[in-house]
Amino acid sequence: MNVSKLMGRIIPSVVGAAALLVASTAMDNKQASAAETLDVGAIQPLAGDCAQWGIPIVRGMQYWADQLNADGGLLAGDGKRYKINLKTYDNVCYIPGEELKAGRKAILDDNIKFMLQTFTPGSRQAIAQMTTDNHVLTTSYGAGYLSKDHPYLNGGITGSPAAYMLIASRAIDANPDVKRVAIITSDQSFGLAAKAYFEAGVAAHPEVEIVYNESYAPDATKDMLGLLTPLMASKPDMVCQLGWVPAQYASAIETMEQMGFKGVHCAEGFTFPMILERVPAEQLAGRTYFGYAFEASEPTFSAKGHELYKWYVEEYGVEEWSPYTPIGYASMMTLEAGIRMSPSIDSKVVMETLYAADVVDHPLFGPSKWGGEEIYGANHHLLTPLPIYNLDADGNVVLDHVVDHAAWWEKHKDVALPRIDAGGQVFR
């Protein structure tokens, strides 16, 4: 980035902040008088290190709202169009107590009825009762925690943590030489969920053993060399990792490569612009398996989704691109599908309409079925297909494979479910 470009951002940002304040006040007044506005809430980390996840997710949601609003609003099943008004709430870093505070603000103060939150089990549990009592249909980019007692919580897409299971399994399928797997995740609620699901994915391959399986405190990740030394000493063929913010993935992969690792990396997402500054693409080509919702920078899986990438890069620059942006966008489309099908905008009716549908025609993923009974005691998790990606030698993200989540589960649940249970992630 050159200096003039940076100054060009600093000055407008100061002016923009003032303009935004004035505009938002004006907008609030305008929306207050508009009859057909639908408030949608987003609880995400908006400050601190975890904002590197939360802000891109919210930007993806904003794009979703902007696209609908540009068409005159979301055409609901009641025949009316609703302009989407996105409201954001900070959960600091997916901390359950902060999720509860943010949920109170959204639900009790702002009367939000449709919402997106993290899949993090602890955070979902924190507001589960409140969503039930107040009929707030709350989706997420994955399931994490669901319950028949809390039907207003759903999993909008395959997402986390189920994706970890599918990625690990796919990476092993594609690399028959992998016999030794290392798992490293953060010790937060979402990291522990990931750990259990990575284990479940490996369990589908009895010939493969887990040789390292540890959690780390995010505060202890200042020095990847120290953290990864014992992991590399276990001599894995594949490393499944979760919990680092994007730039830390770059540091982790660089460190592992420096330590002589030649095997497979698997994770929910990699921010390649950063990684490729540290490690050449030809060195990593074919060795990085990831998938969350879909990777919008890759154009073949979804042309519609790729438009999100083009908009984002134009708006924020390629260095700001995050594999987390599409997950908010894709998850909101499940709510969108429900609102389009429902005869009423009432959140209870939308919820019942969604669950009553044998198949939900997801705007990005196509027809998808509900699942999750064995894990959550209720079929409230929409099992969308999971595209899994890799990197080619030119540094481009390429589509590796699309996993049929429902089919995979039917085939492997007998071995996967006990591992998920052992990891404390079964909530029946």
Binding site: G48, I55, K222, D223, G226, S251, S322
Partner: protein, 287 residues
């Protein structure tokens, strides 16, 4: 051998970050909560100059320029903080706490709004590694270690061998006595803030070349620095170095033996024990 190398690398990071904070507190008895953001700005100086100077000068030269520019700019920022906050709020420690905390938030938001919330990494400036006794030693780490040693040597020379440095030490030891000797408190405060802030920026540049660079990197590092300077003895530079080595050792061993997730808790317990039994820290002097 790898574990030993890891201990040295981690300790050098702790030293480089905490020493500026210890200096400022030792001389001025003031905690600068924006110290972490000064460190963050040093990281961004490297990122910015890596982009601006790429293909114009060698990468190694860019690294040095980033250290100098970052230290200069952030040092001046530190002097401005001294003139506009510390000087005006002296004798009001809570107000200084709130003001510097506020400044830290402002600096974070400015970076988020101008550059973005996503972290940044810079291309490896000194790529590759060497093997020594079975240990992998990344060249970038060795360079960072070398510059940290140089930084400490420079600080030692300044404090021990220059008149201004002696005046800074005299002020830290006995403010009233220093004033009676004709030392200008205003000049010492400005000098200390410049040096302390510049050290934070240099640390940010050094570590930014190894770790990630992000708007919130400083806030995360700050609490660890507090533990280090408290255990070392608030205001004691030698104590800071000893405590940094101690925590580098403990944190690395805990991580190596699979207990890394408890490192933060153990570090805090050690701090509480030291405060209980050695209220002035390991090498701090009684007030």
């Amino acid at each position: 051998m790898q574990v030993l190398a890891n201990i040295i690398f981690l300790s050098s990071f702790y030293v480089s970050f905490a020493v500026g904070l210890a200096l400022v507190f030792g001389v001025m008895r003031t905690i600068n909560f924006a110290h972490g953001e000064f460190y963050m700005l040093g990281g961004y100086a490297l990122w910015l100059l890596s982009g601006v100077l790429s293909n114009t000068i060698p990468d190694g030269a860019t690294f040095i320029v980033a250290m100098l520019v970052g230290a200069g700019v952030v040092g001046i920022l530190g002097m401005l903080v001294q003139l506009t906050l510390f000087e005006r709020l002296k004798e009001q420690p809570f107000s200084i706490f709130m003001a510097t905390l506020g400044l830290s938030y402002v600096l974070q938001v400015v970076v988020v709004k101008t550059i973005g919330p996503m972290g940044r990494s810079v291309p490896a400036i000194f790529p590759g590694f060497i093997m020594f006794e079975g240990a992998i030693l990344p060249i970038q780490r060795i360079v960072v270690l070398g510059f940290t040693a140089l930084m400490m040597a420079g600080l030692w020379y300044f404090l021990m061998r220059t008149d201004l440095g002696r005046a800074v030490r005299a002020t830290a030891q006995n403010k009233t006595g220093a004033m009676l000797q004709g030392i200008s408190m205003g000049k010492i405060a400005l000098t200390t803030m410049f040096v302390g802030s510049a050290l934070a920026a240099i640390s940010g540049t050094l570590m930014g070349s190894v770790l990630m660079i992000g708007p919130f990197m400083g806030a995360e590092a700050l609490w660890r620095a507090f533990i280090i300077i408290i255990v070392g003895g608030i205001g004691s530079l030698s104590g800071t170095v000893v405590a940094a080595l101690l925590f580098g050792l403990i944190d690395t061993l805990m991580t190596t033996f699979g207990a890394g997730k408890f490192a933060a808790m153990v570090d805090a317990i050690i701090m509480l024990l030291v405060l209980s039994f050695m209220p002035n820290g390991l090498l701090g002097s009684r007030e």
